[in-house]
């Protein structure tokens, strides 16, 4: 794993395993810049999920607060 807050390493990207998401909406609350809920309350990433360096910590917090382990963060190429 890189050091996301340094801004010098690889870009992070978030995604949601939609078959695991049950609509707790914790990711939307923790990182509203990165996630949004649809009409049924299921969460989706905004845009293509690219995480601006300043939001790396929030992306990781979203992962750590999803009760269903549906939020994933990984380094983009």
């Amino acid at each position: 794993m890189g050091t996301p807050s340094s801004g010098t390493s690889k870009t992070l990207r978030v995604r949601i395993e939609s078959e695991l998401c049950q609509g707790h909406n914790r990711c939307c609350a923790v990182a509203p810049e990165l996630f949004e809920a649809d009409e049924l309350g299921n969460a989706h990433v905004k845009g293509d999920g690219t995480v601006p360096p300043a939001l790396a910590a929030k992306a990781r917090l979203a992962v750590k607060n999803c009760p269903e382990h549906a939020v994933r963060v990984a380094e983009a190429d």
Binding site: Q22, G23, N25, A29, A37, L40, E68
Partner: protein, 395 residues
């Protein structure tokens, strides 16, 4: 209440309605997790299990093949599921179509709209007792917040909370020991909602009763008993649960003034504090009925047996939550299960979170310093939903 024989061993004879369990279940669960992580009891018809580890609770919540939701309360005598409350009592494949229509009414945007009204409500409640210098935080404050919010959403009289709470107490507490009381509650609620539906006729409306009436599945209206079943669920699930979470949180802050002071000094701490209070004092224990032979953590279970699904116990498992018995208002990693896991995730979780947050915020703005009047005078509800029911505080 009838005299019950005292519990000899929580591992083999547990009783989730015992006063010792109700008053302070956490040491019991800690002990069980170590020496018997799937406890058993013959006090309930066909036997009941009590898994206390997070992993076991999670596995059962995800396993709709072996565990059915047709019975979600462990009672002394099994209660025939003659009046289901979909979707909480539904299994796949009926579960999803019963749940989908409800979801838009409880999504984050819909709940955000209710926030200003809830703040105003909290302040009106505080206005009524603040000059006294004391109140019962459970009955003068916490209980009215979810009751009035859900009454307004349903489009029923918000002043009739005593009646709604009586139905819930009959169904969820007294009904554990006496099925006639459960039946009485279900019948009275059904008659009440039938009358509300009749009052509305076909008139359009933006309340949840009109909304459920107008639902169509494959172009067909829902059967009246399904509409009424879901309306009963919304009322039952919307009141005691959040009342308990608000009450337990205020109980914690009354006992731990340093935590109240931290929240007053740093309101942004509420983001994590609300989740931590939900983790530590999760009010709701659901249940499942075993429908196929299955083994959980080495413990064989036979069809017909009931299993308590204790999200509160799961949330105190030190294998998942370091310092599980400490309330850490700034806990960063918090995958708690207060609202359940899997397909039955509480439909009202966004609403409950909003109500809990607003209730604490508005309280602390007006009453930053308070304490329990008499710690031994605090009483707790029993069984399915745990929270303080008498909570005198002075300020």
């Amino acid at each position: 209440m009838s005299a019950k024989k005292p519990v000899s061993d929580w591992a083999t004879d547990f009783d989730h309605t015992d006063p010792v369990w109700n008053n302070d279940p956490y040491p019991i669960w800690d002990d069980l997790r170590k020496r018997c992580p799937v406890a058993h009891s013959e006090r309930f018809e066909d036997g009941a299990f009590f898994p206390s580890r997070f992993a076991d609770v999670r596995d059962i919540a995800y396993d709709t093949e072996h565990f059915s939701s047709r019975r979600v309360i462990v009672r002394e005598k099994k209660f025939d599921p003659v009046m289901p409350s979909p979707p909480i009592t539904s299994d796949p494949p009926e579960h999803r179509p019963a749940r989908m229509p409800l979801l838009p009414a409880f999504n984050p945007k819909a709940i955000e709209k209710l926030t200003p009204g809830t703040r105003a409500l909290c302040n009106r409640l505080i206005d009524a007792f603040i000059a006294e210098g004391s109140c019962d935080a459970a009955t003068d404050y916490a209980q009215h917040i979810p009751t009035r919010v859900i009454a307004n959403m349903l489009g029923v009289d918000e002043e009739d909370g005593d009646r709604y709470r009586r139905w819930i107490k009959l169904a969820l507490e007294e009904g554990i020991h006496d099925n006639a009381k459960t039946m009485q509650s279900l019948k009275e609620m059904s008659a009440y909602f039938a009358e509300e539906l009749a009052k509305r006729g076909n008139k359009p409306g933006d309340d949840l009763i009109s909304f459920m009436r107008d639902q169509r599945v494959d172009g067909q209206p829902l059967a009246p008993e399904k509409v009424i079943g879901t309306l009963r669920l919304l009322m039952i699930a919307g009141i005691d649960t959040t009342w308990s979470a608000i009450g337990a949180s205020l109980w914690h802050l009354a006992k731990n003034p340093q935590d109240a002071a931290r929240l007053v000094a740093n309101p942004s701490l509420m983001d994590t504090a609300v989740e931590e209070l939900l983790r530590a004092y999760a009010p709701v224990t659901m249940a499942r009925e075993v429908v196929k032979d299955v083994t959980i953590n080495g413990c064989p279970m036979k069809p017909g047996a009931m299993v308590l699904l204790s999200f509160p116990a799961a949330n105190r498992d030190p294998e998942v939550f370091p310092d599980a018995n400490k309330v850490l208002l700034d806990r960063q990693e918090n995958r708690h299960a207060a609202f359940g896991l899997g397909i039955h995730r509480c439909v009202g979780s966004n609403l409950a979170r909003m109500e809990l947050r607003v209730a604490i915020e508005e309280w602390l703005k007006r009453i930053p310093v308070f304490r329990l009047e008499d710690p031994s005078g605090v009483t707790w509800s029993e069984g399915t939903v745990r929270g303080p029911r008498a909570l005198r505080v002075v300020f």
